[in-house]
């Protein structure tokens, strides 16, 4: 590696402050999008019934969803139907019907459309009262805020310097905002488990930032660029293997519960965002900081 980075002004030395522009643009775009989303929907996300209240009925097996939809759409205007398919065999596994209706109403309507009764063996029913769901949602948002504050404390205690700590925390913030915008853009309805995944992201995404900051500030070998580049090699490899642990979980476990998969989708999006935020944003800030402080 020593040969690749010349001791004089390399491309990275000249351009690193510009690199930060890319993540900043994405972050601003995400925030603007989420703000518009909030104005439009009066909320930050699309919520599934576990967060908005209502009934979710899962019918197991190969069920004709088109007939169900046409039969039920009139009675339940907010009905949504999702089909779940096994990725390995391409077989339909189940369909999920969600509505704000009471479980008995929805169940009866489904039974009369299908022509057979729903039992333990062919279906699952989940009902959440609207007050409870609203309080769940509020608490999970509160949990994210608390988590973020606790994580920030840990980072400050770890590094005990202001700018490097703020850089890590800023990267973690961007790691949450970017996937959130993408999830909204894809029109995915978040479940309680999905929000828990965002919490996980707070803890999961900062380890590469800690690696970078530690190598840059505490390692005594090599030049600053070498240390940052070394951290980059280790860190990207970490993120890639983490993606390899998380993506199969999203693709393979197409059985239920559906919320399980959402956790892994969000973690994967967060890890991708982390590649940008650690190696463009955080790395540039730490390099600038080290140069100011004369840490080489």
């Amino acid at each position: 590696m020593e040969q690749q980075i010349s001791p004089g002004k390399s491309w990275y030395d000249r351009q690193y402050k510009l690199l930060i522009v890319i993540p900043i643009i994405i972050l601003i775009a995400s925030i603007v999008y989420i703000s518009f989303f909030y104005i439009q929907h009066n909320d930050f996300i699309y919520k599934d019934v576990s967060l908005s209240g209502g009934t979710s009925i899962t019918l197991h097996g190969d069920v004709d969803s088109a007939k169900l939809e046409s039969d039920l759409k009139l009675q339940f205007s907010d009905l949504s139907i999702r089909k779940l398919t096994d990725l390995t065999s391409a077989q339909p596994i189940a369909i999920v019907l969600e509505s704000s209706a009471q479980p008995e109403e929805l169940k009866q309507a489904i039974e009369s459309s299908l022509g057979y009764p729903l039992t333990d063996d062919n279906s699952s029913t989940e009902f959440s009262g609207s007050t409870l769901s609203e309080s769940f949602y509020k608490q999970l948002i509160l949990a994210i805020v608390i988590s973020f504050i606790l994580m920030s404390f840990v980072i400050f205690i770890l590094f005990r310097t202001f700018i490097p700590s703020i850089a890590v925390i800023f990267a973690a913030f961007a790691d949450i905002v970017m996937p959130l915008a993408l999830i909204n853009l894809l029109g995915i309805k978040l479940s309680a488990a999905g929000i828990a995944a965002f919490l996980m992201l707070i803890g999961y995404s900062v380890d590469t930032d800690i690696l970078l900051t530690t190598r840059a500030l505490k390692k005594r070998e090599g030049t600053l660029n070498e240390r940052i580049f070394g951290a980059f090699k280790t860190g990207t490899f970490m993120t890639i293997t983490a993606l390899f642990a998380v993506l199969p979980a999203f693709f393979i476990v197409t059985g239920l519960p559906d919320s399980f998969r959402q956790i892994f989708l969000i973690l994967a999006l967060g890890l991708l965002a982390d590649l940008i935020n650690t190696w463009l944003t955080n790395a540039s800030i730490i390099k600038w900081y080290c140069e100011k402080k004369g840490i080489n």
């Binding site: 197991h60 029913t125 707070i202 983490a242």
Partner: protein
């Protein structure tokens, strides 16, 4: 062979303990598990109890549920009184009956790992009292509810208090093998206590008829314990004070009774106690009480167990249940079911099957990626071994603390494994970086990074223990467990293994 360090030994011991805790050999056992036996049926009276392992019916070996269904299908329904020989827990029970079979069974557990409701199937209700309750009121509510479910002969039920970040308290009821409408009926139904002599009601639970129930001191407690053929029995007694009206009713009803001929000193009818119309206890009435308007009566009962301590605890629990029902009568709080789920067991099976496939795919892909990057089989193997150890030890702890693994708990284990690999990459990359620093220094820096990452994960997951009435507690718990296992056991061992590999 190189000498193993203390940390490697610690890992080996943790792995052995985890396997012991999980007990995978349980899957080799043959038979079916008796889940419940209807009270007062011939089967119950002969001594067959929930929790026993049934291995044979009429000399036909029962290895699994299929065998059971086949044999039962050939015997039932019975037209006349028939002899049935059942072997359970090694004991032979001979039953003469013309009843239908009043036993519920399920497959034997294949290990000590318990799965959550969303994987094993069942019904769950989250119940919120309309007013806020103190913790003792909440425990009364829970006692009344579990009592009621037990009275109805429902096994596999857990009733526990949960609270959330906003200070709301809930009661969570989880039942395997029950539909949500049954559960809804049971939970929202008012508990009703009645004490009857014959068909006449003497008093009912609640403030109107009962002025005071002694809960401790000289008027309440365990009286005696004695040994029986099958273990120990402890008897309890406590005093109940009745209102004058209830005492008057007692006098009127008992004045019409005559003396018991078979056991002297008692009247010919008993005082029968019912909860929601199910008989829970019958007390003999002393002949001195005949026609008397007594306001103080003594309620007795017992509890049994294999050891004296078990019998004592069981008696105490039964006493507490009875006291609660007498005091509260019906449920004093208006309840609202805020969440009600029924999960089909079919879906969980599919999920478990997919999980095994998932584990294999993840291990294979990560091995390949590591092999391409480091080009060393030994390093790759030790990373995979560490990942596997972490998952195994986490599962072992879950089995040990009787944690019900639900889907989100499993997601937590997978996420924990992901961070585990990350940490190991940090250790490897630090240790193979250039030679100027000592290996010890490099490992030390690696651990600074790892410990930092560990605390941020803990900080991030901590609020989940409370948010949303603890419904996502499993996710937080298994993630924290698995990263803790990582930092305390597997990571130090991995660093030592790596040192050995480097030296070679």
């Amino acid at each position: 062979m190189a000498k193993l360090t203390f940390r490697i030994w610690l890992l080996i011991i943790a792995l052995i303990l985890a396997v012991l805790a999980i007990s995978p050999w349980l899957s080799l056992e043959k038979g079916v598990l008796i889940k419940s036996v209807e009270k007062n049926s011939t089967f119950f009276n002969e001594g067959i109890r929930a929790g026993m392992t049934l291995t044979s019916i009429n000399s036909q070996q029962i290895n699994n549920i299929e065998d059971y269904s086949r044999v039962i299908g050939s015997i039932f329904p019975l037209k006349e009184e028939t002899k049935i020989t059942i072997i359970a827990d090694g004991n032979t029970f001979i039953i003469f009956t013309n009843e239908t079979l009043k036993i519920d069974i399920s497959a034997l557990p294949t290990s000590k790992i318990k799965t959550g409701l969303d994987l094993s199937g069942g019904a769950r209700a989250l119940v919120k009292p309309e007013q806020s309750l103190s913790s003792s009121e909440m425990s009364d509510l829970i006692a009344v509810t579990s009592n009621r479910l037990n009275v109805f002969g429902i096994s596999d039920v857990t009733v526990k208090p949960v609270s959330d970040l906003q200070g709301n308290s809930f009661m969570l009821v989880e039942v395997a093998g029950l539909t949500s409408s049954d559960l809804k009926d049971l939970v929202s139904q008012q508990g009703k206590f009645e004490a009857k002599i014959g068909n006449d009601t003497v008093f009912i639970g609640g403030k109107r008829d009962i002025t005071y129930v002694a809960k401790s001191g000289q008027e309440a407690g365990i009286e005696s314990c004695f040994q029986t053929d099958s273990g120990y029995v402890c008897r309890f007694r406590f005093s109940v004070y009745l209102s004058p009206e209830a005492a008057e009713r007692h006098a009127n009803i008992t004045s019409k009774l005559s003396l018991n001929l078979s056991s002297t000193g008692y009247l010919d009818k008993t005082l029968d106690m019912y909860i929601d119309d199910n008989l829970v206890d019958s007390l003999f009435i002393s002949e001195e009480l005949k026609g008397k308007a007594t306001t103080q009566i003594s309620v007795q009962g017992s509890g049994a167990g294999a050891a004296k301590e078990d019998a004592f605890n069981s008696a105490q629990e039964n006493m507490r249940k009875l006291q609660t029902v007498l005091i509260t009568g019906s449920l004093p709080y208006k309840l609202e079911i805020v969440k009600l789920d029924t999960i089909s067991p079919v879906l969980g099976k599919e999920f478990t099957k997919n999980l095994i496939l998932l584990a294999l795919v993840v291990f294979a892909i990560i091995s390949l990626v590591l092999l391409i990057k480091y080009r060393k089989i030994k390093i790759t193997l030790s990373v995979i071994l560490t990942m596997f150890s972490e998952a195994l030890i986490t599962l072992g702890i879950a089995a040990l603390i009787n944690w019900n693994l639900d889907a989100s708990s499993i997601a937590g284990i997978i996420a924990g494994m992901g961070t585990g690999v990350n940490d190991q990459i940090v250790i490897i990359d630090e240790s193979i970086s250039s030679q100027r620093e000592s290996l010890k220094e490099k490992i030390k820096r690696a651990f600074f990074i790892i410990i930092g990452a560990f605390f941020t994960i803990i900080a991030a997951m901590l609020p989940l223990f409370w948010a949303g009435a603890g419904m996502l507690k499993g996710f937080a718990l298994t993630t924290i467990l698995s990263v803790s296992v990582g930092i305390l056991i597997t990571r130090p061992a991995f660093a030592d293994i790596l040192k050995k590999i480097q030296k070679e």
